[in-house]
Symmetry: C2
Subunit: 452 residues, 2 copies
């Protein structure tokens, strides 16, 4: 009998990017399915950080702001790293800059968008968007308007300065049709800001192909930049002249070392810089980005879909999905295990209602919270279960690391650069055992940690 593990190993053997796993320093005995929250450590990053600390900082000291024999050129890091992120998200190199956090970059771009659309003061988003996106609007001078996915286009009117959406939903993994939403916003005279935190480095993103105006994204998830890595921001070239950064710091000045009293913005996205670049963190991010660029988005995307598709098949075959299963009648390829080429996708209809999960059932199975169609989801699968927190802790105790998102989501991320099909089979097997044994009911798995 061919087990899931046998099939997983076959898929790993055939995987053209399987060897990239060796470029990461993954702990033994762990199945890591949380790279969508914190990417793993590239081995090159350890070496690069040692070089930055010892040679660039320790030895060359202040001189490293300019080019040195040891590397240096710290002043160029934000543009250089941004330029390396650009091809991963369908942007030109000079349209992307690495700096600050996603939150701070959202604050800058919300402010900038309001200046570009005088007379309009609404930022439109959806309820349940990643919290910091909404909070940034709430802290800004803009008025927040929220509309459910199926009502977003109807909510676009002449008050809306900016449509701000997260491309791949952090909880469900549901993915917006970037081109369609962007077009609808433009038809209403609004700008669009895409949060790519759960997209960049994992799913196909073509900002310029979609005509997007602005974007932000995270450095510490699929880009493997390290905990709290700098984020990035994109502004389409056509908006560069009109771009006004309300957090107008000296590093975004046209001539920072002239020390003028009057702010004058640097050309293009460089004016999005505020304070001094975080050199250590930015150097680590550069290593992660280089590794993603080396693999290439096409291969990353194909593997991502194959991984999540295989995981879903394993869930189905082990009987862990509620009945009726969303996979029934769709055949094996519908879940995406063979990659995009074999998938008969349902059309992406951004005006359709968000599918509501059926009510929670028995404790032995889970409800898929992510789209079945691999073209409509990010590089993750989420499942609802009323005891999702305890299940997650019980899995971690078995060395399978996913994460919990309140109130009832168990989330597995498939970082295609280093996750294997074997990881998927092992994770599902562990989940099956946890569900069957009821071990998650233990008290130790129910105490909430500070960070979940």
């Amino acid at each position: 009998m061919v087990t899931l593990l046998d099939r997983a190993r076959e898929l790993d053997t055939a995987d053209p990017i399987a060897h990239y796993r060796e470029r990461f320093d993954l702990p033994g005995g762990v199945v890591y399915l949380d790279g969508n929250s914190l990417g793993a450590l590239p081995k090159a990053t350890r070496e690069r950080l040692a070089q930055v600390v010892d040679a660039e900082w320790g030895h060359d000291l202040i001189r490293s702001w300019n080019p040195t024999d040891n590397g240096g050129d710290w002043i160029a890091l934000p543009q250089r790293v941004g330029g390396k992120i650009a091809p991963l998200i369908g942007a030109q190199a000079h349209e992307v800059i690495a700096c600050d956090s996603v939150s701070v970059n959202l604050s800058k771009l919300i402010g900038a968008a309001l200046k570009m659309r005088p007379g309009r003061n609404v930022v439109l988003s959806e309820p349940g968007n990643f919290p910091t996106d909404l909070y940034m609007v709430q802290g800004s001078p803009a008025q927040q308007r929220l509309a459910a996915r199926n009502a977003i286009i109807d909510a676009l009117n002449e008050d809306v300065a900016l449509l701000m959406l997260t491309h791949v939903h952090y909880k469900t993994g549901e993915m917006f049709d970037m081109a369609a939403l962007t077009e609808a916003a433009h038809d209403a005279g609004a700008l669009v800001l895409w949060d790519l935190s759960h997209s960049g480095g994992a799913v196909p993103v073509d900002l310029n192909g979609a005509g997007a105006d602005m974007a932000v994204g995270c450095g510490y998830k699929y880009l493997n930049g390290g905990p709290g890595a700098p984020a990035y921001a994109f502004v389409a070239e056509r908006h560069h002249d009109a771009l006004v950064n309300p957090i107008s710091g000296w590093m975004g000045h046209a001539a920072p070392f002239a020390f003028s009293d009057e702010y004058a913005p640097a050309p293009g996205v460089s004016r999005l810089l505020a304070g001094t670049p975080a050199v250590l963190a930015m150097s680590a991010l550069e290593c992660g980005v280089e590794l993603m660029a080396d693999i290439g988005m096409d291969r990353l995307v194909a593997k991502s879909r194959a991984l999540s598709g295989f995981f879903l098949q394993c869930m189905e075959e082990r009987g862990l999905l509620e009945n009726p299963s969303p996979l029934q009648g769709r055949g094996r390829s519908a879940a995406g295990a063979e990659g995009v080429g074999d998938v008969v996708s349902t059309p992406v209809n951004t005006t359709s209602p968000t599918p509501q999960p059926p009510p929670l059932k028995g404790r032995g199975s889970m409800v898929l919270a992510s789209p079945v169609d691999p073209l409509r989801r990010g590089s993750q699968l989420s499942f609802r279960h009323q005891e999702a927190y305890a299940l997650c802790q019980a899995l971690i105790a078995r060395g399978v690391i996913g994460d919990f998102r309140a109130p009832d989501i168990l989330r597995f991320g498939f970082a295609p650069a280093y996750v294997s099909f074997e990881d998927c089979a092992l994770a599902v097997e562990a989940l099956a055992e946890v569900l069957a044994s009821g071990e998650w009911e233990r008290e130790e798995f129910r105490e909430r940690a500070a960070v979940t």
Copy 2:
């Protein structure tokens, strides 16, 4: 004959904190007098970063947000590091938080101050303040008002929401009387925000003693946090309830992991957080801060004054100060070489006009741009010379690293934790030779680098 170098070595032998130099990884053959721009590398930082990268990130991965056997507890870093900075600046632990950059923190606190003073919209500062401070006002909804040092108090009126000053001037090292200015601002109903970038870890700062409302400061100068280290922000406890952060990110939420759609601020300065803490950079900063705390501010301040005083004496005795010298008739101790106890200080009069340097003279001497009185200056000495840029480059070629500040300032910083009196004597000797030889006239020393 007792040379300057002999005297320097005597002073080093008697220096009670001389041994802390061994805690830093300083390059051989270099006299480093630029710790006011980028602090040196503490040896402990190298080890700590390796631990954070290998064990906390690489091995424990996402689990390190909570406490782990390897340390972890990343979520507590901003408050923990802030709490360790607090005693260095006369604040309570819960009034300080480490986060973002000085620029971004200025943006937050300018916004917060405007909310606390409804009906007032002026931010008062001085021309020639560090550029990012002024630029942040220019990018904010506030109106900027600039007044020269001797006119600041007169410029305080009922329009002024916030007086925003840099405690120690980055170019001249001139230090404001924090208590007097704060009192004057309060008398006018305004709040005060102090930029401590050139103060924290080097000069006495007593925020609560002075009644200060808000402050920001830099992690990569005297705190030795590494290039582009996170900054810190202080808000006096009495303002915590009214504190509104316009960059209202999820990490400043009362319950970030509840993922609520509605922003609700965390208690106290924690609400100043925006995005995910920069764990690698914050860990490096913590090492630098711990080292400063270990030495203690009293010893750091005494050594700082002794170093700059000795440097000034060396300049005078080598005939490098213009005539008449500002030191003439003040005696040896007036420059501060014996430390604060021996100094007969001139009273600090914040309403006196800023001393204007005499016109540039011959090329063989320099004009002191810093206050002669060690109680009125920071841990630096600045000298004007029309060829300051080329002089700085010629000194760097000789292994003496100071820096240039446009248009004509040559600046030497005395990081008391690792600079020796021998460093001072060697630097002055090198400067004497550079000035005498005219080697700075070489073409190679006149080409401006990107970062100066």
